[in-house]
């Protein structure tokens, strides 16, 4: 097991290195000079030339790439072209904002998705099953943009239940400690603010969680149906075991492997796919951080941002793979 883990971690290095190379080349292939973009439409030619030189963008790409990797190996993520601040210094609050949102979205997706899938499988071909599967179909096909604006319209503007934008009540700002606001407000014992943060999380959480929720529901249902048809379940039921235990203990445990895979993949996708949600809900997360960086051609920020997301993505996959063994003793890593 330990050997397997170490081998997997070592495998990550060439993957991530390859990533840096591809990302580096792609973003430099996009036309548009960062200096021009930063200085704006109104800037003079001399200004653009001067800034290009200052940023070292006049060197050939391979020199820039080698420099970048050298710095990266020293743990230096580079300096933002736009804000002139070290990326490592400024990236955490954005990443934290997205992590918090993604976690909430994932909790919603897993709790609702898994349960809907189980119940659908349990009462196969019932009205609930049909309704849930139609909703799941809608869920994967609904545009997040539209869903987000509709949520705001219904729950904020008409019902006044929930706020539309941001992470906090701007009139009562939160003092950041870890930048995970749910945690920060608890540490400070501000339960009113905790509730406020939770309220801000619900609408974007649902918007972001809808697609994974639908996918998880469908995956759980089909996986459960397969398991529930197997002999040991039939035996358990014949022995008179309560249906609840049959479903939630025996069946679920055996059906959970493909669901875990899906959850792992979706979690990684959430991080990258948060841009639309973050735009609609004015959420200061990593998706928008990178998106803005792309508009400004802020190369170091784009590179580091994508690298970080890629890292989290492969890391989650690693965790999922390791979890298999914990959930299913038949799987061994030798």
């Amino acid at each position: 097991m330990l050997q397997y883990t170490i081998r997997r971690i070592l495998q990550l290095i060439p993957v991530l290195l390859g990533m840096t190379f591809v990302v580096f080349l792609i973003i430099r292939a996009i036309p548009g000079n960062p200096a021009q973009v930063i200085l704006g439409q109104q800037a003079t030619k001399e200004a653009v030339a001067a800034l290009t030189k200052e940023l070292g963008l006049n060197h050939p790409w391979y020199v820039q790439y080698i420099d970048y990797i050298k710095h990266l190996l020293q743990g230096n993520l580079g300096t933002s072209i736009r804000t002139r601040t070290a990326v490592s210094e400024e990236i955490w609050p954005y990443l934290a904002a997205t992590l918090e949102l993604s976690l909430v979205a994932m909790v919603i997706a897993v709790v609702v998705g898994v349960n809907a899938g189980i119940i659908s499988a349990w009462f196969q071909n019932s009205w609930f099953d049909y309704a849930a599967m139609i909703l799941a179909l809608l869920g994967v096909s609904i545009p997040i943009f539209w869903l987000g604006l509709m949520e705001q319209w219904v729950f904020s503007i008409n019902l006044h239940w929930l706020p539309t934008t941001g992470r906090e009540n701007i009139r009562d700002p939160i003092e950041a400690i870890t930048n995970l606001y749910l945690l920060d407000t608890l540490i400070q014992g501000r339960f009113d603010q905790f509730i406020e943060v939770l309220k801000h999380l619900i609408l974007p959480g649902i918007a972001l969680g809808t697609i994974p929720m639908a996918i998880i529901a469908r995956m759980t249902r089909s996986s459960m149906l397969e398991v529930m048809r197997s002999d040991f379940i039939r035996t358990a039921r014949a022995k008179g075991m309560k249906m609840f235990w049959v479903v939630y203990k025996h069946s679920l445990k055996n059906a959970v492997i493909p669901v875990l895979t899906v959850i792992g993949l979706q979690m990684g996708l959430l991080l990258g796919g948060a841009i639309l949600t973050e735009t609609i809900f004015g959420w200061p997360g990593i998706g928008r951080y990178i998106y803005d960086a792309i508009s400004y051609r802020d190369y170091p920020v784009i590179q580091s941002g994508i690298l970080l997301i890629a890292f989290i993505f492969v890391f989650i996959n690693l965790v999922v793979d390791l979890l298999y063994a914990a959930v299913d003793p038949r799987i061994k890593y030798n």
């Binding site: 200085l39 109104q42 003079t44 653009v48 604006l149 239940w161 934008t165 701007i170 508009s295 400004y296």
Partner: protein, 537 residues
């Protein structure tokens, strides 16, 4: 079976309740202030806007979102009017201009302090100008475009800035510059605290200190900028608010949603199509920003067949401008016939517009040798701007117009930075673009956008006319206002005849605010004074 349905209902309830956690009470409608005032009027203004600032050192940036904030932290020697670009006193209370237009002597306001407690005086003014003049295009990009260069450059208009005494400062120019005072009133030339500049160095842009009504508190990139009341502000009784938060909400509809839900108090970038909804809402009010912009369709005159003025005129005749305004600007805005808006001094109202006339357009195309039209690319802006709320739809409407005279336009669009870069290289046949004036001067439109000197920067049309160039250069140093206006009228005639663009519209950008927001006057430059703004009951 009974058990089953009970369980089902239970699980359903669980899901529902978990989804509705915290939905219990009406959320942050924040009509009260968190402060000593208790239940009295609101003292914090939350201003929702589309983007973040680039930097908060106004001399080092060129974007409107930065100036929107710095306008309230810093002050300039002279200021624009409340809703126009007339010159009024600012940090200077009086100024004398010598008859030859070469010497400007300013009397400075006494008793003014920077927000860090240091004194504002003539030395501070000299320090700021020396700082900019000793800089370069990279550090202070706007300085050269308004004052002709940096120290050592022949083009630099300013020969010397010296302190006559504590409260008097004198500028000596190398040659007269007509828009000199208007330039001084621009946000980038606001006076910063010399001590703070020295103390923070490169980080001054994150720690701005000026003499303005509000002082800087905090900047969370991509999220918000917070400024608070400067208690030692020289103007008694101002500012009226305790705090302003500039909050970035990129999506126009989401920003309006936040306003309707009471999370923000003021929102810019309102879609023209939402205007009626705001007017009919008793909790909100609609603001119109005085127009100082132009949206246009530029032709790259070095490309065939756009090198033929008749073709360009024909296309000008083929656009139904009023229909564009009705459909995409919510009827707000005026059809454009000149490259600058009517509010600018020197505007030539005698120009006869290219009215919508397809017969005339066809006739001109025939004369130009294209009786059956031709194929072209029509570039559509990918981002909304006040002068171009929806580039793609406007391009489609123009495409339909052009089709009627046999011109087949293919709509092309790129991501914004790519769009600007490719257009500036002259790769477009015709491109949609626009401009918002910086200082309300004709030079800032005509010279900046259509002079041959501006090819490679803002003259994306590659339009070059020596006669026009001579007139524009002459106008730059003409101090007599009426003579100057006459020159600009001549310039507009030449441009009208050559038709390097099809000017489309001078739009009216819209903002919306809470109904009880008082004394907010949107400024044509796009950066608003908020010192007099307050909330009524």
């Amino acid at each position: 079976m009974k058990k089953k349905s009970f369980l089902l209902a239970f699980v359903f309830l669980m899901i529902l309740s978990s989804a509705l956690v915290g939905c219990s009470s009406k959320s942050s409608n924040g009509n009260s202030s968190k402060g000593s005032d208790g239940e009295s009027a609101q003292k914090t203004l939350i201003f929702g806007r589309g983007g973040d600032s680039v930097g908060l050192d106004p001399a080092a940036v060129t974007d409107g979102e930065s100036f929107k904030v710095t306008k309230n932290i810093f002050e300039t020697l002279v200021e624009f009017g409340k809703q126009d670009t007339q010159i009024h006193e600012g940090l200077a209370t009086k100024w004398d201009v010598s008859d030859d237009g070469l010497t400007y002597t300013f009397d400075l306001r006494k008793g003014v302090k920077f927000q860090d407690g240091t004194d504002f005086n003539a030395d501070a003014v000299v320090f700021n100008f020396e700082r900019w003049m000793n800089g370069d295009a990279d550090k202070f990009p706007y300085f050269a475009s308004m004052f002709g260069g940096y120290k050592g450059d022949d083009g630099l208009v300013i020969k010397e800035v010296k302190a006559l005494n504590d409260n008097q400062v004198q500028f000596t120019l190398k040659r007269p510059q007509a828009p000199f005072l208007k330039n001084l009133a621009m946000s980038p030339f606001a006076i910063a605290s010399p001590d703070a500049v020295k103390k923070f160095g490169d980080k001054f842009t994150e720690n701005p200190v000026g003499t303005g009504p509000f002082k800087f508190v905090e900047w969370k990139h991509n999220d918000k900028v917070v400024i608070e009341k400067n208690k030692d502000y020289w103007k008694k009784g101002y500012p009226k608010l305790d705090q302003i938060v500039f909050k970035s909400i990129p999506e126009n509809s989401a920003r309006l949603n936040a306003l309707m839900n009471g999370e923000i108090d003021l929102a810019d970038g309102i879609n023209p199509s939402d205007a009626d909804q705001i007017k009919s809402n008793p909790d909100l009010q609609l603001y119109e920003r005085p127009s100082m912009n132009v949206g246009y369709l530029g032709f790259t005159v070095t490309r065939k067949p756009f090198d033929n003025p008749k073709v360009r005129q024909a296309l000008n005749y083929a656009i139904d401008r009023q229909a564009l305004i009705d459909a995409f600007y919510g009827g707000k805005g005026v059809p454009a016939k000149n490259p600058m808006p009517p509010v600018i001094s020197g505007y030539d109202d005698d120009i006869q517009p290219y009215e919508f006339n397809l017969d005339k357009a066809k006739e001109l195309l025939k004369e130009a040798g294209y009786p059956n039209g031709f194929e072209m690319e029509l570039w559509a802006m990918p981002v909304p701007r006040p002068y171009m709320p929806d580039g793609k739809k406007i391009a489609e409407a123009i495409q339909a117009n052009f089709a009627k005279i046999g011109v087949k336009a293919k709509i092309v669009s790129y991501e914004w930075a790519t769009y600007l870069e490719k257009a500036s290289k002259g790769e477009a046949d015709a491109y949609l673009l626009g401009w918002t004036g910086d200082n309300g001067d004709a030079d800032n439109f005509l010279y900046a956008l259509l002079d041959k000197d501006s090819i490679g920067s803002n003259n994306y049309s590659y339009y070059s006319n020596d006669k026009l160039h001579d007139i524009l250069i002459k106008a730059q140093s003409e101090v007599d206002e009426s003579k100057r206006n006459e020159l600009y009228k001549q310039a507009q005639e030449i441009i009208h005849e050559d038709a390097p663009w099809a000017p489309l519209v001078h739009s009216t950008p819209l903002l919306a605010g809470k109904a009880n927001l008082k004394d907010f006057y949107p400024h044509p430059t796009g950066s608003d004074w908020l010192d007099g703004v307050y909330f009524g009951k």
